[in-house]
Amino acid sequence: MNFAEVRFWELLLAGLGVIALARWPLARQRPGALPAFDRGALCALGLFLLACVSWLTVTIFLGVAVCSYYGLRWIVANHTRGHAWYLLVLIPLQLLPLFYYKYSHFVANQVLGLEVDYFRGLLIPVGISFYTFQMVGFVVDTLAFKHPLPSFLDFLNFASFFPQIVAGPIERRDVLLPQVQRFAFQWSWRNLDQGAGWIVAGLFFKCCLADNLAAFIHRENTVNAWAIWADNLLFGLRIYYDFAGYSLVAVGLGECMGVRLTLNFLSPYCSTSIGEFWRRWHITLSQWFRDYVYIPLGGGRTRYWALTVAVVFVVSGIWHGAGWGFVLWGALHGGYLIVNRLWSSRFRLPRPAAWLLTNTAAMGAWLAFYEVRSGFLQAKIQTLLAPGSYSWNNLRALWSQWDATSQAVLVLLLGLAGATLVAEWRSVAGRNEPYYYLRRPVVLCVLVALTLLLAPGVNNAFIYFAF
C-alpha cells in the first residue's frame, strides 16, 4: 500500500469502482441497507488493499484484530472489576506477532547471544507496529473509560481504515471509531476538494523531496566529520519528508472519504526545544507513549520522572526498530529531554540559538537511527568527537564528492526543503492552521509541476514501512 506507486491508486480506484457498481442498485431498491453496506464495503476495501500487499500481511492483521476484539469482549462480558490483571494477559497476546516478526531475531541473537538462525529471514508484515499499537490503545481506552464495545465490523473498520493502517497516524478510539461507525460513501466533490491539497502536498514531500534526497545519502564515509553531518542532515530531511509525505496523503485520503485523521507532523524542524520537537514529530506515537506508558509509570510528578522519561524513549527507540542503534537513538532523545527539563528553568537561550541547538541535537541523533552497522556507528561517533576531522580539506572533500550537476541538484533540493519548512512554520505560527500555505491553490499547482519535473523515475518504499 505504497501511495507513491501508481498500482496503489489503480487498486483503490478499481475497489471504489466495484463498490459504486454494487451500491447503485442498492440505493434505488433498498436504501435502508446502505449504512450497513457502506461500512461493510469500507472494511472489504481495507482488507483487499492489505491483501494486495501480501496474504501474510492481511492474515496477521486479522489474527491480531480477532484476538484484540474477542479478548476484550470476553473481559467486558465476564469481569466488571480487576481489568488491569486481564490486560496483563491480553496486551502481551496482542503484541506477540509484533515481537515474533520484529524482535525475535534481535532478542535471540543480539541480546541473548543464542546464535539462532531461525528468525533471521523473517519479514516484518507491513504496518504491524502501527495497527498493533492502535489496537492496544483501543483495548485500554475501552476498559479504562468503560466505553461500550462496538460491533466487530466497526472495530475492523477502526483498525483497518486503509489510509492509515500501514504507517499511521495511530488513531485513538474517540477520534476514529465514531467516524467509521457513521461512515457512508458520499462521492462528493466537497470531500475531494478538502482532500486534494493534502494529497498533492504529501506526494510532493515524498516523490520530489524525500526520493531525490535519498540519492545523496552515502553513509560510507567514516573519517570526514562534515560528510557524516551531511548524511545526518540529509537523512533527517529525507525521513521527515518521507514520513510526513505519507501522513499528509493519509490525511487527504481520509478527507476524501469524509474521515478526519490526526495530523502527525506540525513543522517539527522549527522547534526550539526537544520537548517541542516531540510535540510536533510523529505526534500520534508520542501521544500513545505519553498516555499508555509515561503517565501510567507516574509521569512527570514523581521523583523518578527522569527514569520514566528514559524508559519511554528507549522503548520508543525499540518501537522503531530492533537494533542497538535504535536503543541508542531513543536513549539520546530521552537524555536530551531530561537535560532540557533540568536546564530550561535556569537558562533561557535566544530563540535562534535554541532552534540551532535543538535541530543539531536531533540531526546528530539520526546517526544512531540510520547507521545499523555497529562498527561504522562507532567509527563515525569517534570521528564526530575528533576536532581534527572538521578540517577545511574535509569540507572541500565533502563538496567535491558530487559532480557539478549533483551539486546544483542538491542546492535546489535544499532550497525547496528550506522554503517548505518556512511555509510550514508560518502556517502554524502565523495562521494557526497547519500547512495552510502549502495548500493554497496556486502553490498546489507549483507543487504538481515541481513533482512532475523533478521526481526521480524510481519508486522508493516509505521508510516507516520497515517499522
Binding site: L192, L263, L266, P434, G457
Partner: protein, 333 residues
C-alpha cells in the same frame, strides 16, 4: 500551537477539479517535451531509425546477417559497413545507450533478428550485474519510437504497469538542472549530434575528453541477468537464431589492466554457462588511451574499425572461449 486534530479551513470549491486538470495538463506538457524535445531522446530516436533502415537494407540484400547490440560501447564500436566491405560479414549495429538497460536493449535487438541470423550480445558487464528494471530512459525511448511493446519481458509478459510507464514520460531533477545549465551557458544541449550517426548506425564523435579507468569491472551476474540469458538462449533455439556474447572493450590504464582482464575473465566464465563467448584475446581491455574518444567505453573511429574487423574474423572462424580457459584466466594471479 494548534492541536494535531485542528479544524482545517474549508478548501475552495472546485479545488480537486482544478488540481486534476492542472496535473493532466502538466503531465501532457512533460510527455510532449520528453517525446519530441528531450535532446537525448531526440538523438537516440534518430539513431534507432537509421539503424532500422540499415537493418532493413541488410534483410533485403542478404539471406542472413549479424546483429550486434549493447549499450553505447556497441554503438561506437561496430562499423557494419567495414565488416561487410572488408570481411564479407553483413552486420548491423543496434547498439543504443546503456541507460536503456539490458532487458530493453535485448528486446530491441531480438525484434531485428530473423531465423538464420546471428545475434551478438555486447552488453556492458554493469548491465548484467544488477536487477533488470526498466529505467525511465527505456520507457521514454520505447514510446518515442512508438514501440511500447519493447518494454515487455522476453516471454511477452508485462514488466511495468501501463500507469507507471506513462508517469515516466517526464524529466527528473538531474535532467532539468543539466538542461537549464546548458541553456544558461549556451552550450549544446546534447553532446552528440544527429550527423554523428553514420548510415550503418555506428555513432562517432569528434569530442575528446579526459578519461580515467578502468570502467566497471566484470562481476557476478545478477539473478535477473541469469534469467535473461537463459531466456535468450531458449528464444534463440526456438527461432533458429545463433547467439554469442562479445565483451565490449573498455579503457584500463597499464597498471590495472591485468586485474581488469582477470575480473572480466571471471565474468565471461559465468556468461559461458549460458552463451558461447567469442574469443577476444584482449578480454575487453585496452590500455591505448588514444583508442578512446569521450568515455572509457567509446572507441574512436579508427579503433572501432579495428575492433569490427577482429569481431568479423572471430565470427567467421567461430573462435570461442571454453569454460576451462576462462576459469584458468580468471584464477591467474
Amino acid at each position: 500551537m494548534p492541536s494535531s486534530t485542528s479544524h482545517f479551513e474549508p478548501a475552495p470549491p472546485g479545488l480537486a477539479r482544478m488540481v486534476l486538470g492542472f496535473t493532466l495538463l502538466a503531465w501532457v506538457a512533460c510527455a510532449a517535451y520528453t517525446l519530441w524535445l528531450n535532446p537525448s531522446v531526440h538523438f537516440f530516436r534518430h539513431a534507432a531509425r537509421v539503424k532500422q533502415n540499415y537493418l532493413a537494407g541488410l534483410d533485403a540484400a542478404h539471406t542472413n546477417k549479424v546483429v550486434v547490440y549493447g549499450g553505447s560501447s556497441s554503438a561506437f564500436a561496430i562499423n557494419g559497413q567495414a565488416m561487410w566491405r572488408e570481411e564479407g560479414v553483413p552486420a548491423a549495429n543496434l547498439g543504443l545507450a546503456a541507460d536503456y538497460g539490458a532487458l530493453f536493449l535485448t528486446r530491441w535487438a531480438m525484434a531485428g533478428a530473423r531465423s538464420g541470423d546471428m545475434l551478438i550480445v555486447a552488453l556492458e558487464p554493469g548491465l548484467l550485474t544488477r536487477p533488470l528494471e526498466h529505467s525511465s530512459e527505456a520507457v521514454q525511448i520505447s514510446y518515442a519510437l512508438g514501440r511500447p511493446g519493447l518494454l515487455r519481458d522476453l516471454d511477452g509478459s508485462s514488466v511495468l504497469p501501463l500507469g507507471s510507464q506513462l508517469l515516466r514520460l517526464r524529466p527528473d531533477a538531474r535532467h532539468m538542472v543539466t538542461l537549464l545549465g546548458k541553456l544558461a551557458g549556451r552550450r549544446p544541449l546534447f553532446r552528440y549530434r544527429t550527423q554523428d550517426v553514420r548510415p550503418d548506425g555506428q555513432v562517432t564523435t569528434s569530442v575528446r575528453l579526459p578519461i580515467s579507468g578502468p570502467p566497471e569491472r566484470g562481476a557476478e551476474l545478477s539473478p535477473d541477468a541469469r534469467r535473461l540469458l537463459e531466456g535468450l538462449r531458449q528464444w534463440s533455439a526456438r527461432h533458429g537464431v545463433r547467439v554469442a556474447y562479445s565483451l565490449p572493450r573498455g579503457y584500463a590504464p597499464e597498471e590495472t589492466i591485468q586485474s581488469f582482464r582477470q575480473a572480466n575473465a571471471g565474468f565471461l566464465h559465468e556468461i559461458a554457462a549460458y552463451l558461447p563467448v567469442l574469443k577476444d584475446q584482449t578480454l575487453g581491455a585496452s590500455s591505448l588511451r588514444d583508442d578512446f574518444a569521450d568515455t572509457n567505453w567509446h572507441l574512436t573511429e579508427a579503433a572501432a574499425l579495428a575492433r569490427s574487423r577482429e569481431l568479423a574474423r572471430q565470427i567467421k572462424s567461430w573462435q570461442i572461449w571454453t569454460p576451462d580457459e576462462l576459469a584458468a584466466l580468471s584464477a591467474r594471479p
